[in-house]
Structures are given as structure tokens and as C-alpha cells.
């Protein structure tokens, strides 16, 4: 559905994303993780069109969209959320979502756009706050609003940029449930996230970025036990020590390859 081919984005001389290639299959949930500054949000902006790549090609449903403006991509069915939420501050929640339906969603009449907005708000759990203004919301609700607005455009591909950052564990659980449900309704999803537990639970595959480069792309479990990933997240020294620990335990029990979750694995959950 979506293909990135050798995408590079430099700011000045500084590469934010370098030679990134990956494919998103129709109907899947792809997680994208990486330490701070790895280029995750840049990748989202490149796909959404807010940034133009320095080189490389982006294809959506077989069509080259590298040079299309963000609104043109939205009309093709690519919707995104913003890591730093961008509500229409002086419009109420319902109107925020109506805008999504009216334009990206291609609904011409205001009345029908309002009906779709109400349905979407119900779905993300904001219906009872429909009259609050965009700048009167809690963090969790602002993230929900981002999702609601994107959903109102009736997307085929949904790009979620850290919609779970700053949420409580319970809210993370709700968000994960919502993403699953959206995916099951036929929407392909790219989730960029810092909250490790959330993303492993919801993703079919995970892609890891480090210093703008892809260092791993595989099933969640495989990615998390990849030494390069551990190193990228926790530093070289920790990775060496962990490998040594595992080797020792392997020597003791004779099963180094398939060791069960140990206290060492808590880092995966602790990262937020």
C-alpha cells in the first residue's frame, strides 16, 4: 500500500532520515520505534507531505506521491496525527472533527459532516465533551481529538505520531484498543511510539530507527531481542553486559536461545 524507497531528508547538512526504505502492506499495523531524535516524526511528516524528502520516492497504492502537497495526500486517503497536538483552538471538538469530514472526508454537506463527526466522537469516547473548545482539553483528550479528526477524513492509511505519549497506563490501554478496532475496520496503520509495551501489543511488525537509519524490521518479539535495538536504546555497555548475563544463564540452564522473560526485560515496559 505504501512504499518508501531510499528516502533521505537532510536539514542543512544534518541527516534526519537516511536511506529509509520500507513497505506497508494493506491492512497491517506497522510500529515504528526509536530513541529520541531517531527521525520518527520526520518520517511521518515525509509520508504526510508536510516535509519534502531530499531524495527518494514515496509511493501510495502504486502512485508516486513524493511531490504532492499534504492536502492532496489527505484526499488520497492518508491521514495523520501530530505529536504536538494541533487542535483548532477556538472551535469546539465537534467542529474540529466536522472540518476533517468536510474536507479530507469529502462530505459536501455540513449536516452529513456533523453526523459523521458525531459517530467518530462516539467511537473515540469524546462524544460527551463535544462542546468543549480545542484548547480546553486534557492531554489524553487532545490525543483523542487528533485521532477523531484524522478518522473523520475516512482514511485508508492512518499515521499516528505518538498518540500514547503522556497517557496513564489505563488510557494507553484504551488507545491500544481503539487502534486495534480502527485497524479491524480496514484501515492500515503506522504507529510511531515511545511507549514500548503499547506498541508491541498492537503492531504486526516493528521497524526500528536509530540516527535516521533503519536498524531492524521484524515481528515485535524478534525486534525486541535484537542486540542492535537494545544497544540503540540503552547504550553499548548495557548491551554487552546483557549479552554476557544471557550467556551465563544459558550456560547454567542450557537454553540461551529461548530464555523466558527475565527481570532484564523490564526495560521494554519501563520506557516511556
Amino acid at each position: 500500500m505504501l512504499e518508501l524507497e531510499h528516502i533521505t531528508k537532510r536539514f542543512g547538512g544534518l541527516p534526519a532520515v537516511e536511506d529509509l526504505s520500507f513497505r506497508l502492506r494493506s491492512g497491517e499495523v506497522l510500529g515504528m520505534i526509536g530513541p529520541n531524535g531517531a527521525g520518527k516524526s520526520t518520517a511521518i511528516s515525509l509520508i504526510g507531505g508536510a516535509l519534502a524528502p531530499t531524495s527518494g520516492t514515496i509511493r501510495f497504492q502504486g502512485r508516486d506521491i513524493t511531490r504532492l502537497a499534504p492536502h492532496q495526500r489527505a484526499l488520497l486517503g492518508i491521514a495523520r496525527t501530530f505529536q504536538i497536538t494541533q487542535p483548532f483552538a477556538q472551535l469546539d471538538i465537534r467542529e474540529n472533527v466536522i472540518v476533517g469530514a468536510l474536507f479530507g472526508g469529502g462530505v459536501r454537506s455540513r449536516a452529513r459532516a456533523a453526523r459523521r463527526a458525531d459517530a467518530v466522537l462516539e467511537r473515540v469516547g469524546l462524544a460527551h465533551k463535544a462542546r468543549l473548545k480545542g484548547d480546553e482539553l486534557t492531554v489524553a483528550d487532545r490525543k483523542r481529538l487528533e485521532m477523531a479528526r484524522a478518522l473523520a477524513t475516512n482514511p485508508q492509511l492512518l499515521l499516528l505520531d505518538e498518540v500514547m505519549a503522556g497517557l496513564t497506563p489505563r488510557e494507553v490501554g484504551e488507545a491500544v484498543g481503539l487502534i486495534r478496532e480502527i485497524n479491524q475496520s480496514g484501515v492500515t496503520v503506522l504507529v510511531v511510539e515511545h511507549v514500548m509495551r503499547a506498541i508491541t501489543g498492537v503492531s504486526d511488525r516493528i521497524l526500528v530507527l536509530h540516527h535516521g537509519r533503519k536498524i531492524a524490521e521484524d515481528a515485535p518479539d524478534a525486534v525486541l531481542s535484537d542486540p542492535r535495538v537494545v544497544e540503540a536504546y540503552l547504550g553499548e555497555r548495557y548491551a554487552r553486559q546483557r549479552a554476557a548475563d544471557q550467556a551465563r544463564r544459558g550456560a547454567e540452564t542450557g537454553s540461551a536461545a529461548f530464555d523466558p522473560p527475565t527481570p532484564d526485560d523490564t526495560w521494554k515496559e519501563g520506557l516511556v
Binding site: 489527505a74 467542529e95 455540513r110 465533551k129 462542546r131 480546553e136
Partner: protein, 360 residues
């Protein structure tokens, strides 16, 4: 009835925020706008020619502020050169009359030429953001005035004198007054349509967050160009009425058709009344232009300072405009029964909170 506790007031506030209800504000605004214009429309019946002159200016500024509201209020782009459209309208009509062609032709050509100019100008300048856009529009309007000044058509320094329409004096004045009034009414209807339309939603979304608007599928650039053209149309017709009413066209200088203070007035009036609202520009124009005319005649000494202080107070305490204040006062919680005094008390409380949250 028990004395309402603060708790209950908070509950009422919460209910207000949560109640899903369709806004019918626009009907009130449109109705009130029509009533205001209708009442102003009675002024020629008094036969007082100096009052008529003053109110013709006021209604003209209503139109100018309403025109600016499209690009400045709805799309949120601080255009400081809208006087260019006014000047183009005045110049077009003057040239048409100077060649002894019918006045109506001039009034039709004025918005067409100004709209075309807004389109061609908008293409480059609407790629600029914030202050750069403001400065570019300001500079271009000023430059346009200078260019026209350098071309002598009917007099010195670009001036053109026009022959009077050949009707009696009182009738002529009344006709121009009603011309402006009808124009203001049409713009009022246009604005009301805009607040309900897809186009209007796009402009407001651009004002509130251009990046998000673009990501949601709004072709922001073209909608901004559209808003710019829209704001040129009534402004140019007003310029065309102004030139013939004054029987002269003077491009630059105080009271000239390209005078930068006209641009500033449009911005001020719209902000005082309420940018991006239906009624705001009309209210703002009436208040400021009335004060301006009144004090310049009766209190010449404090004329400047008074307006200056007004501008400062509005910027600090009421950047959202008077309309927002009224909305805050009357917005009533749905589904919560309240006694009249309690509603007034809560309204006043909300307004105070609102003003204080702006200021200091």
C-alpha cells in the same frame, strides 16, 4: 429558593461546556445586523445633511471592515494593504467617469479589476506568513498609490476631478448613503453565508491552525487566495462610491484613496467588534468612526489621544472583540434551569473572568 452555592455554579458551568447543541447564533447576528442597518437607514429622513454626511462615512467604514473581515477575521491573515482595493475601485470609477462612460459600468468594473488584482497579488504574497505578509501588503498598497500619483490623467499628481451627477444636492447625498448601506447589507448576507459554508470552515481552520488544516485535506493556499479576492470585492465597490460621492480622486495623502490610515482603520474596527464574526465589523466601525467624527469636531484636542487609549485598551483586554464579550455574557447552559438574577450574575462572572484572563 436556596442560595446558590459556588458548587452549583460550577456544575452549571460544566453543563454548559458539555451540552451538545447546534449553534443558532448566526440567526441572531444576521437579524440584529439587519435591524441595525435598517435603523441607520432612517437617518436621511431627518433631513440633517451634516449627520447624513457623518453616517455615510460610518456606513462606508462598515463595508471596509466587513471586507477586511474575510481575509483578516476569518482567514486570520493580517492584511495591511486592503486600502489598495479601495483605491483601485475609486480609480476605476474615476477613469470611467472621466471618459464620460456610465457610472454603473465603473461600479461593475471596480470589483472585477480589484478582484483580479487581489488574485494576482495574492499568488505571491500569500506564500508569506505572519509579519512578512502584513508588511508586503502594506508596502504594495503604498507603492500602488505612488505609481498612480505619477500618472497624470485629469489633474496634477494623479488627481482627477469629476463632474457632479447633476441631481439635486440632498438627493445625491441620500443616494450615496443608501448605496453604501445596500453594499453593507449585501456584505452582511455574504458573511452570514460564509459562516455556514464549507469555504468558511476552511478559512477558520486555516486561521486556527494552518498545518492541521492542510493535513486534513484543505488546499490552504487557494482558500487564502479566495479569501483575499473576496475581501477585495466590497472594498472596491465602496471605493467606487466614495470617488463619485467626493467628486474627486486623489491617490495619496490624508483622505486620499490610498491613505494607509484607511487600512489601519479596517483592522482596528474589525478587532474591536470581533474578528471573524458576522456583526463585529459593523459594530466596530460604528463605534470607532462615530467617536472619530464626533471628537474631531467637538473635542479636537483629545481626538488623537482618545483613539490611542481606546486602541491600547482593546489590544490588552479585549483582543477577541466586543462580540465575544456579549456571547460570554449571554451563553446559557442547556438543560439547566436558572433564575434570571442567577443567570445575570453568572454572566457577569464569566465576563469578568474573560477580561481578566486576557489582560495583565
Amino acid at each position: 429558593m436556596a442560595k446558590p452555592t459556588p458548587d452549583r455554579e460550577i456544575e452549571a458551568d460544566a453543563a454548559l461546556a458539555l451540552a451538545p447543541r447546534e449553534s443558532k447564533d448566526w440567526r441572531w447576528s444576521l437579524g440584529l445586523g439587519i435591524v441595525i442597518l435598517a435603523v441607520i437607514g432612517l437617518i436621511p429622513l431627518t433631513g440633517d445633511q451634516s449627520a447624513l454626511g457623518m453616517w455615510t462615512f460610518i456606513v462606508m467604514y462598515c463595508v471596509l471592515a466587513q471586507g477586511w473581515n474575510f481575509i483578516g477575521g476569518f482567514a486570520g491573515h493580517a492584511a495591511f494593504g486592503n486600502v489598495a482595493f479601495f483605491g483601485i475601485g475609486a480609480y476605476t470609477v474615476s477613469l470611467v467617469l472621466e471618459r464620460n462612460m456610465p457610472y454603473l459600468l465603473g461600479l461593475v468594473l471596480a470589483p472585477i479589476i480589484a478582484g483580479l488584482f487581489a488574485f494576482l497579488l495574492g499568488l505571491p504574497v500569500l506564500r508569506l506568513r505572519g509579519h512578512y505578509f502584513a508588511i508586503a501588503t502594506l508596502g504594495i498598497a503604498e507603492a500602488l498609490g505612488q505609481v498612480i500619483q505619477s500618472k497624470n490623467v485629469g489633474g496634477t499628481a494623479g488627481e482627477i476631478s469629476l463632474n457632479p451627477p447633476g441631481l439635486n444636492f440632498e438627493l445625491t447625498n441620500s443616494l450615496f448613503f443608501y448605496g453604501f448601506l445596500v453594499l453593507s447589507l449585501l456584505t452582511l448576507l455574504g458573511t452570514t453565508w460564509l459562516t455556514r459554508s464549507r469555504f468558511g470552515y476552511a478559512l477558520v481552520a486555516i486561521r486556527e491552525n494552518e498545518q492541521a488544516a492542510e493535513a486534513l485535506g484543505i488546499a490552504t493556499y487557494w482558500y487564502k487566495v479566495g479569501a483575499f479576492v473576496l475581501s477585495a470585492l466590497p472594498t472596491a465597490v465602496a471605493g467606487g462610491l466614495f470617488a463619485y460621492w467626493q467628486l474627486s480622486f486623489d491617490p495619496v495623502g490624508e483622505g486620499g484613496a490610498f491613505d494607509v490610515s484607511i487600512s489601519v482603520a479596517m483592522v482596528l474596527m474589525t478587532f474591536l467588534g470581533g474578528a471573524g464574526t458576522i456583526l463585529g465589523p459593523i459594530l466596530g466601525a460604528i463605534i470607532i468612526e462615530y467617536l472619530d467624527q464626533y471628537t474631531s469636531i467637538s473635542f479636537t484636542a483629545i481626538h488623537g489621544p482618545l483613539l490611542g487609549v481606546l486602541i491600547i485598551l482593546v489590544t490588552i483586554f479585549l483582543p477577541q472583540g466586543l462580540i465575544r464579550l456579549v456571547q460570554e455574557l449571554i451563553r446559557a447552559p442547556a438543560g439547566v434551569k436558572q433564575s434570571y438574577p442567577m443567570r445575570v450574575r453568572q454572566g457577569v462572572r464569566r465576563v469578568t473572568r474573560f477580561i481578566l484572563s486576557n489582560g495583565i
